[in-house]
């Protein structure tokens, strides 16, 4: 199991298009993906769960990945958030 902490820096937060990109990236891996923030935990492969988190810019989130490709999965999601989902 890998746990990383990352801050959402893109302007629109983890909503709509970024949420969709996140879920699709997460779903490309076999590992289980969980996002935790604001005392809530969401399945990182469920669009509704991710959008319901209401994650705004500057929120720190914890991403937990667990499975055979947890390392690659964790890295890919971290890179995606750090690259601001290509927003700017």
């Amino acid at each position: 199991m890998i746990e990383i902490q990352v801050t959402i820096t893109n302007t629109s937060g983890l909503h709509a298009r970024p949420a969709a990109q996140f879920v699709q990236k997460a779903a490309a891996f076999k590992s289980k993906v969980k996002i935790a923030a604001n005392n809530k935990v969401a399945d990182g492969k469920s669009i509704l769960a991710v959008m319901s988190m209401g994650l705004k810019q500057n929120t720190q989130i914890t991403i937990t990945t667990e499975g055979e490709d947890e390392k690659e999965c964790s890295k890919a999601l971290e890179d995606m958030i750090k690259s601001k989902f290509g927003e700017e």
Partner: protein
């Protein structure tokens, strides 16, 4: 990949939702707008809907998002125009049309089956905005 059809009384609404949904989906995701009447007027046209369903299907079925009232009736009529095989794998989602369509295309882009796509679209009903 499950296809998604957007049925609205307004051609502009259907096309606008399609445009937004395309931003969120995989490049090969089928999203077809079936809005308005053939002459561009407000209404729903069962024939247009059935054509949209046929073009949205890639073999895995089609989830249909509807706006109000007769959009449901026209879609049900459209089902009668389909061949039996396709008719067995189409489903109307009881969901808000925009949020449902967005959620449905993301789920469909993951390669989920029709039941999962419809369930996700319907789950969008409880999505809190603030």
């Amino acid at each position: 990949m499950v296809g998604v059809v957007i049925v609205s009384h307004s051609q502009k609404v259907a096309e606008g939702i399609r445009e937004m949904a395309l931003q969120m989906s995989a490049p090969e995701q089928k999203i077809i707008a079936a809005g308005g009447m053939a002459d561009g007027g407000i209404g729903t046209d069962a024939f247009r809907v059935s054509e949209a369903i046929v073009s949205a299907d890639t073999g895995d079925g089609v989830a249909i998002m509807v706006d109000l009232g007769s959009a449901v009736l026209s879609t049900e009529t459209a089902f009668e125009f389909l061949d039996e095989e396709l008719r067995s794998k189409v489903q109307i989602a009881d969901a808000p049309i925009l949020e449902g369509a967005i959620s449905a295309v993301v789920e469909a882009s993951l390669g989920s089956n029709l039941a999962a796509v419809v369930a996700t679209a319907e789950g969008a009903r409880t999505l809190n905005k603030c």
